[in-house]
């Protein structure tokens, strides 16, 4: 397939930016109006009278002891606007009730890369944020010691106060800040002993909670700018097509429609939008009505995927080849030939949509000397750079305001919608809000790749001695023209369980496709986990052993194995064993279940997190499946906000359940078939099972949490369905299968 566009490198390590007086930044703060100081003053009142001193780019302190902590990264529902400020507040020994949180400006120089994805935000910022808080705490102590003319080691801090231990004299941080900022912050401040953590490790409610339940929180789509117009784009229906001809007379006659014009073709290296036509209108509804009235013809695409069946044919033809070997250990062929039992199965996964509840949108104002952008994005620095490239403005003239975001799930790692808005603003020279309809969001999503895993295993003396995986999919990296390792986002060579099999072969075949693909929550893992977790269960049943027993046998003596991709550098099988044993203990595991009831187990390691789940299902004779309960045990190391961690694992499980039971994007006549949630069923409240989440090993180093809950769900549900009905599900979604039995 032809070139789509080039991809940026958005993953950069955060840089330390502690210290120094930085000019004021006063973005709207979010706070819980109901929070009160010890004296009973509401945060709202305190904010009104606050006079701020900037300490560094992360913290400012007011004379009345309110503390503002900057949330450096976008909040997509994963909780970082709460958890990251908690880390600073803890080392600062701040009174969490008097902390208000502000969203950072988009500036790589100040905050390092601000992207959120791959469950990396916590892990990559943890040390830096701790040091930031600790360094400021030391500066405040110095200021107090100097005031009292006492040694610093006679002073301690507590709840935003510095206290002189001997005399019990107290000064608030607010009283000390002006003096404190004169000291140079230490690059290596003394960090707290984890046993002394006062804010992290304790469940905290979301900082935006009050604004959410009152409807005050401003998402991207809620942006209102004076004299703003609204825009929609009519895009080429699929990659590989272009505008042939159009007539906008009827559209222009619609009340409120201002203009219809051609979107610039994506011809620059940095372009990520798709071309098409732009409708500009006075308001959203006029734009929708206007766009419906445009007559348009598109060119025919070449070598496109005609239908889902056509794609499956391509997958199957690729699976007949050997594929590119990406891992080879021992001698699979010989071991397989010499095994007592040989097992083979294929597992098929469809394209899946991100379905962010808030459709894509971006508001842009291009002024004489600056460009202001409000956008719900996971990659603010990238949007800033893109805006600089499109407008020709210097990067310092571009201000990207990260709004509240109605779900990320990986979709907002793409900046196609921001690019459209910037091009439109450049053309019309007016403030513009570009928005997508739900239908746009489906049709022009970048889907989770579709693919098939073909697995083989050889068993000798009850042990798995040979494993072969041949995976084919519509590669994300190929779609983005980064062809070196097309498998890198699709399959992980060091994944458990294959990595423990002595004779291992893994191969990948890239299946050419013009359907847009990109990362979706737990990329690659959301596919391999279904294949590996189901296949392991099939092996156990073939051998007549308990699936958990099979895992424990395979692990044997625990060890640490090098793990070369994201989530490494090692995979610790002791931690696998521990979560497996814990889930066995925590769940109500039964040997003889009544007819129609089943239990299914699965484990998956994703991005540094270890999660084992046990799922309870009931299937009626007519084939109606109810997922009753999912018990999960997660080892993601230290928990910053336990309440947030619990809801991320729980939410990941529900997302995983939706992918398992419902989600499927299909292609018909060369186009995406689903347009809205009537044809793309989504999990509803009555489908949500009881979810029971446990954490272990919470003294281990911090990992992320957003993605780990999702991967093990599909296999555990399908394994439970097999337990209940004897029917093995080898393709998703489950709703397409007849589960009836008698």
């Amino acid at each position: 397939m032809k070139k789509r566009y080039t991809r940026r490198d958005f993953i950069k390590v955060s840089t330390l930016v502690t210290g120094g007086l930085i000019a004021g930044f006063h973005l709207p703060g979010c706070f819980d109006e109901t929070k009160r100081s010890a004296a009973g003053n509401t945060v709202k009142n305190l904010l009104n009278e606050a006079v701020w001193t900037d300490v560094n780019v992360y913290v400012k302190i007011a004379q009345n002891n309110l503390i503002t902590v900057i949330a450096p990264y976008p909040e997509i529902g994963q909780g970082v606007r709460t958890s990251l400020p908690m880390i600073i507040a803890d080392e600062l020994d701040a009174d969490w009730n008097l902390v208000v949180v502000e969203q950072a400006v988009t500036d790589k120089e100040k905050y390092g890369s601000q992207f959120v994805g791959g469950s990396t935000a916590l892990k990559r910022s943890y040390e830096l944020l701790r040091k930031t808080g600790a360094a400021i705490r030391e500066m405040l102590i110095k200021a107090a010691a100097e005031t009292w003319k006492v040694p610093v080691n006679e002073c301690k801090t507590e709840n935003s106060f510095v206290i002189h231990k001997k005399s019990n004299k107290k000064l608030t941080y607010g009283e000390l800040t002006e003096k404190a900022v004169k000291y140079k912050p230490s690059e290596e401040p003394k960090l707290k002993n984890p046993a002394d953590f006062s804010v992290t490790g304790k469940a905290k409610k979301k900082v935006d909670l009050n604004d959410i339940v009152t409807g005050k929180l401003k998402f991207g789509l809620d942006t209102q700018i004076e004299n703003m117009v609204c825009a929609l784009v009519l895009r080429p229906p699929i990659f590989g097509t272009k505008l042939k001809t159009y007539n906008a007379d009827k559209a222009l006659a619609v009340d409120g429609v201002i203009d219809v014009f051609k979107m610039p073709e994506p011809t620059n290296d940095f372009d990520v939008h798709r071309g098409g036509l732009v409708v500009v209108a006075e308001n959203s509804f006029s734009a929708i009505k206007g766009r419906n009235e445009i007559y348009v013809e598109w060119t025919e695409p070449e070598n496109n995927i005609k239908s889902s069946a056509h794609l499956t044919e391509k997958f199957n033809s690729n699976l007949k080849k050997t594929g590119t070997v990406i891992k080879s250990v021992g001698n699979f062929k010989n071991a397989y030939k010499n095994s007592d039992i040989q097992i083979e199965a294929t597992y098929e996964l469809p394209f899946v949509a991100h379905t962010n509840n808030e459709p894509q949108n971006t508001t842009v104002v291009i002024k004489e000397n600056s460009c202001e952008i409000w956008t719900p994005t996971q990659v603010p620095n990238y949007v800033r750079k893109l805006a600089s490239q499109i407008t020709g403005y210097d990067i310092n003239q571009i201000n990207v305001h990260v709004t509240a975001i109605g779900g990320g799930f990986g979709r907002r790692l793409e900046a196609d919608y921001a690019a459209e808005a910037i091009y439109i603003a450049k053309q019309i020279k007016k403030p513009v809000k570009l928005f997508w309809t739900r239908e746009d969001d489906f049709e022009f999503d970048f889907f989770r790749p579709a693919g098939i895993h073909k697995l083989k295993a050889g068993i000798k003396n009850g042990k798995i001695i040979a494993w072969d995986t041949h995976h084919t999919s519509t590669s994300i990296l190929t779609f983005n023209n980064t062809n070196e390792k097309p498998w890198a986002y699709e399959i992980y060579p060091d994944n458990y369980p294959p990595i423990l099999v002595p004779n291992l072969n893994m191969a990948y075949s890239d299946t050419d496709s013009n359907i847009a693909v990109a990362s979706l929550r737990a990329p690659g893992h959301n596919s391999t986990s279904f294949a590996d977790g189901s296949f392991t269960d099939e092996i156990a049943h073939k051998l007549g052993v308990d699936p958990i027993r099979l895992h424990l046998d395979l692990i044997g003596e625990p060890k640490k194995i090098p793990y070369h991709s994201h989530g490494g550098p090692e995979l610790d099988t002791q931690r696998i064993k521990d979560v497996i044993l814990a889930v066995k203990e925590k769940s109500d595991r039964k040997k003889d279940l009544p007819k129609g009831y089943g239990q299914g187990f699965a484990f998956h390691f994703t991005f540094g997190g270890y999660v084992a789940v046990l799922t309870d299902v009931y299937v009626s004779e007519k084939g109606k499946l109810s997922v009753k309960k999912i018990t999960a045990v997660a080892d993601i190391g230290r928990l910053i906000n336990p309440a947030g961690a619990e809801e991320q694992i729980s939410g990941g499980i529900i997302d995983g359940l939706n992918i398992t039971l419902n989600a499927e994007i299909t292609v018909k006549d060369g186009k995406i078939e689903q347009q809205n949630v009537d044809t793309y069923p989504m999990l509803r409240i009555s489908d949500a099972p009881e979810i029971d989440v446990h954490f272990i090993n919470t003294d281990a180093p911090v990992e992320g949490v957003g993605e780990m809950g999702l991967p093990p769900v599909a296999a555990s549900v399908c394994n439970a369905v097999f337990d209940a009905t004897g029917k093995r599900i080898r393709s998703l979604p489950v709703r397409k299968h007849d589960l009836s039995y008698s």
């Binding site: 109006e33 109901t34 909040e75 997509i76 529902g77 994963q78 909780g79 979301k206 935006d208 909670l209 009050n210 959410i212 339940v213 009152t214 409807g215 005050k216 401003k218 998402f219 789509l221 809620d222 209102q224 009340d255 308001n283 959203s284 509804f285 929708i288 009505k289 379905t355 962010n356 509840n357 808030e358 459709p359 509240a404 975001i405 109605g406 779900g407 799930f409 309809t437 739900r438 239908e439 309440a643 809801e647 991320q648 729980s650 939410g651 990941g652 499980i653 529900i654 997302d655 939706n658 809205n676 949630v677 009537d678 989504m682 999990l683 509803r684 409240i685 009555s686 949500a688 979810i691």
Partner: protein
């Protein structure tokens, strides 16, 4: 055409077209953005408002059909989040991204207006039309039950 809409006890005079959904009038013309657009077809519940205390999808309700009726949006529920359902939502700490929650709350208020003490099955049935993409369903259910226990909506 020019119509009068009574929203959160205030009367607004707005110019609308005959087929214009209430959602876009509320969001674009009255500038109350707490009511969200998501599916535009009455399939997801993000746009739920109360019309004479009954929960309705504003994205498929023509604005001209609700003249002379009491329209309540999330902003009209209470000044500072003190409505019992909002309080329950805060106590349970329901939201993740928060986008669907205005609709969830308004729908829950609609349910409790009709049935002050719904059973779990009745909650499922009433809240079935509201999608939460982040998967906060268990907490939504707990919050509706809490609001009901604490005396419903009055």
């Amino acid at each position: 055409m020019q119509i009068n809409l009574k929203i959160n006890k205030k009367t607004y005079s707005v110019e609308v077209s005959e087929d214009e959904p209430l959602l876009w009038v509320i969001r674009d013309k009255i500038k109350l953005t707490g009511t969200k657009y998501s599916c535009g077809k009455g399939l997801c519940g993000a746009c739920t408002v109360l019309i004479d205390n009954i929960a309705l999808r504003s994205c498929i309700t023509p604005a001209i059909s609700v003249q002379n009726k009491e329209i309540t949006t999330i902003e009209g529920l209470s000044e500072n989040g003190t409505h019992p359902v909002q309080e329950a939502w805060k106590e349970i700490d329901v939201p993740q991204c928060g986008y669907c929650q205005s609709g969830q709350i308004m729908n829950a208020v609609g349910l409790l207006n009709k049935n002050a003490h719904p059973s779990e099955t009745e909650i499922d049935k009433a809240m079935q039309g509201n999608i939460c993409r982040c998967g906060t369903y268990p907490k939504i259910k707990a919050a509706v039950m809490l609001a009901s226990e604490k005396g419903g909506v009055k």
